[in-house]
């Protein structure tokens, strides 16, 4: 599949693809084919789809621990993403990255990042490099509500605004940082952080791909015109666990009623309602067959050779000494 497109059907295809990808990935966690679990993106699909549909192929994104949606929406091959989650040599990162580090430089995906907030300055540097090279590429940093309390993110907002860089700061406010509710973590507001640096900041319905797309288009236009960064706070609800370990741990930090009502605003349903039944069913079938192939591809892929465990440690080819007797 390619990058999310901004048509009615295109947006639906992407949210549906992400939803079903995540559900199948959870199944593969349960069967033990994916080791280490995942942070499911379920419920937040509209954000990745809406933002990536406003981009060009040569724009770049950085992502988070909850990054499958971003990577898929920017156009990475689902089969190779899944193979990466399964730790296969055929994965995007040759099995060296896993769920939290999926990257596809050919598609402008500079990597998911497992350290909250750490991708923000990388995005700002990429945006500066784009401008430096005379390109009107933009760079997008996806991050959660937890990241807005990281100093490095605030430093990055300052740099991007100061230097009027083509950056979209996309905050996915899903209500929680692991178990900590936003209200108990964030003094002031998320948009207020952007505004403090003079960055145009809006809050949108992160369950509706069209609402996200609209805001993203405005931000992309501003960035390409040389008018600097924007911040978009997308309100969403995380339908599934923080991480799949929670399926077994049964943490009690949100009530069943809350989860139930949170799931009522479902991006797949919202965008699906904009399609005729036959159209929707056709897309669903396409997505399913794409994912059937993806699962087959992922599980058929060879496991990496342990002898190459430290391949690529140095881009220059330097080989480190081994840990044992030598």
């Amino acid at each position: 599949m390619a990058r999310a497109t901004d048509t009615r059907v295109g947006l639906y295809r992407t949210v549906r693809l992400i939803r079903r990808f995540e559900q199948r990935a959870v199944d593969l966690v349960d069967t033990g084919d994916i080791v280490g679990g995942i942070h499911p993106y379920t419920g937040q699909e509209a954000i990745a789809a809406g933002v990536c549909a406003a981009l060009r192929d040569d724009d770049v994104i950085t992502s988070t621990h909850r990054g499958h949606g971003h990577v898929l929406a920017k156009g990475a091959d689902p089969a190779r993403v899944l193979a990466e989650l399964a730790g296969r040599d055929t994965g995007l990162n040759r099995g060296r990255g896993g769920s939290m580090h999926a990257a596809d430089f050919a598609m402008g995906i500079l990597g998911a990042n497992a350290i909250v907030g750490a991708n923000a300055p990388i995005t700002v540097g990429a945006a500066w490099a784009a401008r430096h090279s005379g390109s009107d590429r933009v760079a997008v940093s996806f991050f959660g509500d937890g990241a807005v309390n990281q100093g490095v993110l605030l430093e990055s907002l300052n740099l991007a605004a100061l230097w009027r860089l083509p950056v979209l700061f996309v905050c996915e406010n899903n209500g929680y940082a692991t178990t900590l509710p936003v209200g108990e973590a964030v003094a002031g507001t998320i948009t207020g952080r952007g505004e403090a640096f003079g960055i145009p900041s809006v809050t949108v319905d992160g369950a509706d791909p069209v609402a996200v797309l609209t805001a993203a288009r405005t931000a992309v236009r501003r960035a390409r015109a040389g008018d600097g960064p924007s911040l978009i706070e997308c309100l969403a609800y995380r339908f599934d666990a923080h991480h799949t370990w929670e399926h077994r741990a049964r943490m009690r930090y949100r009530s069943d009623e809350e989860v139930h009502s949170g799931r009522l605003r479902d991006p797949v349903t919202i965008q699906g309602a904009r399609l005729a039944d036959a159209e929707r069913e056709r897309v669903d079938a396409e997505v399913e067959s794409t994912l059937d192939e993806a699962v087959a591809f992922a599980l058929a892929g060879p496991h990496p050779d342990p002898g190459g465990a430290l391949d690529h440690l140095y881009a220059s080819g330097l080989r480190p000494r081994q840990g044992g007797d030598h």
Binding site: L92, F105, L110, A118, W128, S133, L159, H312
Partner: protein, 326 residues
């Protein structure tokens, strides 16, 4: 023949690399004016887009360098204080260093981190006097500590051209060293290749950074009694084990003179590797900072924790006496 200063050598390397490769740029605090001198005159020559003054946001601008490097540029980030490296350990070790492997070789991060004036500068006290090159060697980040102006030039040039992150420590204690050298004779020095500054037959002294000059002075002082070979690894990671093996193969005795803390410093690694690999005639020794040193303010206290010439002379004589005090 010009008397080339260490700072001028660094300045010259930056100017030459900026002129040679349009992807190179310098980023840091007060680099336009050039308060450390290493960037003096560069902004005037190359412009503010190549010599970029950043706000005091070390974490953001170090992460920014990663993003710019991922986009094809070759940033050189200057730090005014060695302990700022602790502040950006995340951005260097956990981000820049890990990208190549984690992305399965898709990415390289050719950033150079230049610390002008590392180690003690007498009177700068606890938070300005660290010398953490061993920390980066431990983490596997390429790390150089040039001892002379010619090596400072050559290693900085190579660091900038290298496709991996490289930390360049310019010890405060070496900044006063001068070389008689023609500019035209300045050349890139490969990483991981040591240098014998003074040949000898009875004991090898591994001296790092500014301690090379002290080691040469001690070797002179003791010349009537003992023939000392002074081996300067120049790069602490990757270390020139073969070069050291050749030296120790000749002398059979080893003393390490290292401005790291004793515990897990590079000196410890040199002794460990020597114990594993080399045929030593006597127990080796090291002269370094005490465990967990916090450099105290008063000059006498500052001097008391530094590895010094007396300590080295004592260690050399002890090793010659088969590990017993003479």
């Amino acid at each position: 023949m010009p008397r080339l200063s260490y700072l001028k050598a660094l300045n010259r390397a930056l100017a030459d690399e900026l002129a040679r490769d349009p992807a190179v740029f310098v980023l840091g605090e007060d680099v336009r004016v050039g308060v450390s001198y290493v960037t003096a005159g560069l902004a005037g020559k190359f412009g503010p887009e190549r010599v970029v003054d950043a706000p005091l946001s070390e974490q953001a601008f170090t992460g920014f360098a990663t993003g710019a490097a991922l986009s094809g540029l070759r940033p050189v980030v200057e730090f005014q204080v060695p302990s700022l490296l602790f502040l950006v350990f995340e951005q260097i070790v956990n981000q820049a260093h890990k990208f190549s492997l984690m992305t399965g070789g898709q990415a390289c991060v050719p950033v150079t981190y230049l610390v002008t004036g590392s180690g003690s500068r007498t009177g700068w006290a606890g938070q300005h006097s660290d010398h953490p090159y061993s920390l980066f060697a431990h983490a596997g980040v390429k790390t150089v500590v040039p001892a002379t102006p010619a090596d400072a030039y050559g290693l900085l040039a190579t660091a900038i051209r290298d496709d991996d992150p490289v930390v360049v420590f310019a010890p405060a204690g070496a900044l006063g060293v001068r070389d008689d050298v023609e500019y035209a004779d300045l050349v890139a020095v490969p990483l991981g290749v040591g240098r014998v500054h003074r040949p000898g037959t009875q004991v090898t002294v591994v001296a790092i950074g500014h301690l090379v000059q002290d080691a040469l002075a001690v070797a002179d002082e003791l010349a009537a009694d003992v023939s000392v070979e002074v081996f300067d690894p120049r790069t602490v990671y990757p270390f020139d084990w073969d070069g050291l093996a050749a030296s120790v193969g000749k002398t059979g005795r080893l003393v390490v003179f290292d401005d790291s803390n004793r515990m897990c410093g590079i000196g410890a690694e040199v002794l460990a590797t020597a114990a594993e690999r080399f045929d030593l005639h006597a127990p080796p020794a090291r002269v370094c900072r005490p465990d967990g040193t916090v450099v105290p303010f008063a000059p006498a206290l500052d001097r008391a924790v530094r590895p010094d010439r007396d300590g080295l002379a004592t260690a050399i004589l002890k090793v010659l006496n088969n590990g017993r005090r003479p």
